[in-house]
């Protein structure tokens, strides 16, 4: 029995749809550059951070939601007006955040397991 729901999405619209279907829940989201057919992302920091984040998922609160979101390809991400930058105010990938709060970890902060655990466990 899993404590949390693990959902994978691709792109801004799908992300918003999944969030809107889970109103009232504690939602954590990890934003990464798209993975290729071999499962490797164009974003090297995302490749480095993912195992760290996944390693701490067991600390997610009961009943929470973890969304793994691929944002798009590199040109899409580089565009300063893309939906993630404009609407979610993301500044870099990877970003790990608690939806609806100012709590987030950006880029190298995601490499640190203790910071990830702190995000998942503290109020």
């Amino acid at each position: 029995m899993t404590k949390y729901e693990d959902v994978a999405v691709h792109g801004y619209e799908e992300f918003c749809k999944v969030v809107s279907e889970r109103k009232g829940k504690d939602i954590f989201a990890y934003f990464s550059g798209d993975k290729d057919d071999q499962g490797k992302s164009w974003c090297p920091d995302c490749v480095k951070a993912e195992p760290v984040v996944r390693g701490e998922l067991s600390h997610l609160p009961e009943g929470s939601v973890f969304i793994y979101c691929q944002v798009g390809d590199r040109p899409y991400w580089k565009d300063p007006n893309n939906d993630f930058k404009k609407n979610l105010k993301l500044t870099g990938v990877p970003t790990l955040l608690r939806y609806g709060t100012p709590q987030k970890l950006v880029e190298e902060e995601c490499f640190k397991a203790d910071l990830v655990r702190m995000l998942f466990t503290e109020d």
């Binding site: 709060t101 100012p102 709590q103 987030k104 970890l105 902060e109 640190k112 203790d114 910071l115 702190m118 503290e122």
Partner: protein
């Protein structure tokens, strides 16, 4: 370290910090970062900026911009910023391997602190050194019936979920005037009730300019009045009865909100302490217990002094330095609608220390260029530099009312720190066109009795 505010966070390094916010009487609470981040400097400056932008929008129309009338939902944006600062501090502590506990600390003995969390869970912590940095909280006038029940303080005003509407601000400190300033600036009916004088401890001529400007811009002042009681009417409005100290007559009026800004008290009761008196090295009567920031008696109650004192204390405790905090020459700024920045002595204090004959006061009434097209009244825009009469005329105090007073003051305070003299000012070439350049143009003395209004370039 007990307290995670400006002083406490600066001091924490390879230590543990306890931070706990006792909810206000209205139930307002906030996160890590202390008064400055949550119920002081940060929200104050942002709301002051919101009010200034309201003025700027009005000015903009004079400059030809077509701006429609509109209301703004400002509070949420400010609150979100404060929450992001809470998080930022939390990440920093974790990154620096500082143990952080959201628990209330009290002293058991010289090496033991008792920590209690919100649920009542207790633990004892022992430490070689203990630093108290729990700050202060606003005082309620407990002798006024209804004060605690119906009034709010600065703990609450930045976290309200709806507009306070017609507000009575009681007090004349910079907290009172700044709050009244931004409340009026965002369009609310605002009254300030002052018992005796405004900005006690500050130069009183400058204080007068600040309050005259506020009155000229729609903020009502009830001078020499003191509240007697607060009652809640069936309509939900608050009825305040006060006494005019000149006539001893009582008056009444109704308000939606009453904001008490009648002083702050150090958070020592919860530490099983009366008062904390410190030496120059922040040490108390117990050799391994220290206190920094607002909680210590007789220190300036400012964020930057708490931060610097905290850093220097930490360095001394680990044996890396012997440098003591210097509390002299600290520049401050009051962020009222007309901002007031100063460093050094007031004119009164300079006269007291040196004698009226030994000082020379250079002054000027100036008009910011930006005010011209905007048709703004610059009558209270004023600069005063108080110097010693003899020799190079060392500057004892520097005072400035006008836009961006904080920015201007910080620059000149560096000169002040280095032993600024009137000669230095006169030998400095101006940056033009600015308000700050008026400081280096000063040439009229109060003693001469000449008109100090700046004319021409």
């Amino acid at each position: 370290v007990v307290g995670g505010g400006s002083g406490g966070l600066a001091c924490s390094k390879e230590v543990a910090v306890l931070d706990f916010v006792e909810p206000s009487l209205k139930g307002t609470k906030w996160g890590l970062g202390g008064t400055c981040v949550n119920v002081g400097c940060v929200p104050k400056k942002l709301m002051h900026q919101a009010a200034l932008l309201g003025t700027a929008l009005r000015d903009a129309r004079k400059y030809g911009w077509q701006i429609p009338e509109s209301q703004t939902a400002m509070a949420k944006a400010v609150q979100n910023h404060m929450k992001s600062l809470n998080w930022g501090h939390r990440v920093q502590l974790q990154d620096k391997k500082v143990k952080y506990l959201n628990m209330k600390g009290s002293l058991v003995d010289e090496h033991t602190v008792r920590a209690v969390d919100a649920k009542g869970k207790e633990m004892k912590m022992s430490a070689r050194n203990i630093v108290f940095a729990a700050g202060g909280r606003p005082k309620y006038p407990t002798h006024v019936p209804g004060a605690e029940e119906f009034g709010i303080t600065s703990d609450d005003v930045f976290w309200l979920n709806e507009s306070p509407k017609k507000t009575l601000v009681v007090g004349a400190s910079y907290v009172a005037l700044e709050c009244a300033g931004f409340l009026a600036g965002i369009g609310l009916d605002t009254t300030v009730m002052v018992r005796r004088i405004a900005l006690r401890g500050f130069d009183q001529q400058m204080s007068g300019l600040v309050t005259v400007y506020m009155e000229a811009h729609g903020i009502k002042f009830s001078w020499k009045c003191t509240p007697k009681r607060v009652k809640k009417l069936p309509s939900g409005l608050l009825q305040v009865t006060w006494m005019d100290l000149n006539t001893t007559e009582e008056h009444q009026d109704t308000f939606n909100s009453v904001l008490w800004a009648v002083g702050r008290a150090p958070e020592t009761k919860t530490l099983n302490l009366e008062k904390i008196i410190v030496a120059a090295d922040e040490a108390t009567s117990v050799p391994n217990i220290f206190a920094i920031g607002d909680i210590a008696e007789g220190r300036p109650e400012l964020t930057p002094t708490a931060i610097k004192a905290g850093r220097l204390l930490a360095r001394r405790l680990v044996g890396r330095s012997t440098e003591l905090m210097n509390y002299e020459n600290v520049a401050t700024t009051v962020f009222t609608p007309l901002e007031y920045g100063c460093v050094g002595l007031s004119e009164e204090e300079a006269e007291r220390r040196h004698g009226k004959d030994q000082i020379e006061v250079y002054h000027a009434f100036y008009k910011p260029l930006e005010f011209t097209v905007a048709e703004r009244d610059a009558t209270q825009c004023y600069i005063k530099v108080v110097c010693l009469q003899e020799g190079e005329q060392r500057v004892l105090g520097l005072h400035f009312t006008g836009p961006n007073a904080g920015e201007v003051t910080q620059g000149f305070s560096l000169g002040f720190q280095c032993g600024l003299t009137y000669e230095h000012l006169r030998n400095t070439v101006r940056t033009h066109p600015t308000c700050a350049e008026e400081l280096v143009k000063l040439n009229i003395t109060k003693r001469s009795g000449l008109d100090a209004t700046v004319t021409g370039c």
